[in-house]
Amino acid sequence: MKSWYFCEMSYHPAWTKTDGPLRNTLPSSHYDPQEGFALYNRYLDEYAMCDELGINLMFNEHHSTATCLSAVCTIPLAIMARQTKRVRLLALGMPLANRRDPLRVAEEFAMIDVISGGRVEMGFVKGSPQEIFPANGNPVDMMERFWEAHDLIIKAMDTHDGPFNWEGRHFNYRSVNLWPRPIQAPHPPIWITGGSESSAVSIAQKGYVFATLNTGFSLTKTLFDAYRKAAKPGMRTDDKLAYLALLSLGHTKEDAFRRADQVLDYVRNSGRTAPHFVNPPGYSPVAANVAALKAGITGALGSHQIVRSRTGERISRDTLTVENMIDAGVMFAGTPDMVCKQIEEFRAYVGGFNHLMFMSQGGWMTPADSVANIQLFGKEVLPRIQGIGE
């Protein structure tokens, strides 16, 4: 089993400066660049220390928001290409449908792959609905755009006999001739996130790593089963399945739960988005929208934006506790013994996966607590789980 450390790089100093939404419309007057300087460097230091612990690194990006300072996922990826020597570097991910220039995406990944000595993993994501507004990509045909960008990037990386032209529906290039080409041939491994059975099936058919985020006991098994069923016979599907959980550790349960509650502060605040930004037309399926209209629901309809209990009930952000998040399979928290047991139980329940991504930093957590979480994971948990599934 491989592990991946993830940090949202929050700008929590702004969270208490407003009672309103943190995404899309919060003026940057709420952001102090000097404070940002300190936070970026702290977060990057915490990423860098994973190298000697053997914990791989995962980065994401969000836009116009105080919930995430990483606005360009390939920038921390590039920094870590030089600051680390051994671990793998995953962007999860690159919101392909929101990028106007897929060739630039290929160039960024290829450069980082070469500089890092072939340690890049390319994660492509649809992206959260509120991201559509700052990116201004049309939400109705975004998956069509996603797949065209994907096809172009793969062809650019796998073509070595000079330029080709690409006159597609969404992208036009008179001359695609990617320099540098990546070390990993034909291209770095591809990951894609998903929250529906249909996305699990299409990702399985392509043989890519399928990652789900915080889908817990209620949904993960269904999605992973769909992937396994659709995968080509003989594929080691555990190596292609990834799960992101919240995670917190302590030498005592009390220490662990105190830190875990700070991680949950991230979840409590990250959903502070105005309802009109979370369901743009065409983003979610028609049937889900019809059901929402009937029920008078406004707000997000996507699986990754809703936290559910083990039995599938929606858990509101006001009622999140460390205990109910552990029970839901959304969080692993406690002493190393407790966490190993929780991971093994969850892994058995969902039928196996060999990539555990974990978010163990959140909001106001002090650097000392963040570092303690990373070190406890690397020294006390990873040695006990890395043999699983190998």
């Binding site: 201004n136 049309n138 105005a274 743009p280 028609v286 209209l293 009937k294």
Partner: protein
């Protein structure tokens, strides 16, 4: 209103099947709608059909009408409906909101089958500087504020959809996605379209809801000034859809316009 027939509009690559509502008797009128979020223009269409043979195509991508791969812009829809006019002959073309945008795209291309043009609270144009917002961003506002901008009457601002059928709700959702597909970016306009309005030779009537909070009457006056043979009238007690909120006043203006020379 349910489609009464499907028109097969041919092109070299095969035909496009367009669901159409066709009601009433009289001279033909093509009515092009926007994504009226309550699908509530039945009353207007019934009244209009007392004087016209009204033809209402359901735009590709709107409820009950699948997207067509090569129809990507309102200009593409204009070519589709000019092909439709080839079939039904000379007609009065009436466009509301997004439908007005399509009607304008038709009229700048070819007015040989457009005897008269009526634009009701039409979008489609960008007159101002880049940072000036002329059309409210309906996708980036709270739903209640969008309804308050769309409608003058409180019954429309606070709709009760609890008794609506699944089919109606599905059509409302699909209409919204369909309109978004064509209008997301550039938002609700074709760059430079206003520079071609001078090409419209036919008599043109521009009507505007006095209380339109989506796009104000001053925008309609700018359209009217750009068309050689245009008149402009404001409809009282109406928002963005005056034909829905004040159909009598809109019909009176249309009648007077058709009776004028």
């Amino acid at each position: 209103m349910q489609p009464t027939e499907r028109l097969s509009l041919g092109d070299a690559g095969g035909s496009i099947s367009v669901p159409v509502v066709r009601i009433g008797k009289g001279p033909p009128a093509l009515f092009l709608s926007g994504a009226d979020p309550l699908r509530s223009c039945d009353d207007w269409l019934r009244r209009l059909s007392e004087q016209f043979e009204v033809v209402v195509p359901i735009h590709p991508g709107f409820g009950g009408s699948p997207f067509v791969e090569h129809l990507r812009t309102p200009g593409d829809l204009a070519l589709l409906y000019l092909t439709l006019l080839d079939r039904i002959g000379s007609a009065t073309v009436i466009g509301s909101s997004f439908g007005g945008w399509i009607a304008a795209e038709m009229a700048i291309r070819n007015c040989s089958n457009i005897s008269r043009l009526v634009l009701i609270d039409s979008v489609g144009f960008k007159f101002a500087e880049p940072t000036q917002r002329e059309i409210l961003d309906i996708y980036g506002q709270p739903a209640a504020e969008v309804r308050a901008a769309l409608y003058h009457r409180s019954a429309f601002r606070n709709p009760d959809l609890s008794g609506a059928s699944d089919e109606l709700l599905r059509h409302i959702v699909e209409d919204r996605a369909g309109e978004t597909y064509y209008s997301w970016s550039p938002y609700m306009h074709t760059p430079g379209l206003h520079r071609w309005l001078h090409r419209i030779p036919c008599p043109t009537l521009i009507l505007w809801g006095a209380n339109d909070g989506i796009v104000p009457p001053a925008y309609g006056e700018k359209i009217a000034r750009s068309i050689a043979n245009a008149q402009f009238h404001v409809i009282p007690d109406a928002g963005h859809y005056p034909h829905i909120e004040n159909p009598s006043s809109v019909l009176t203006h249309v009648q007077n316009f058709l009776n004028s020379r």
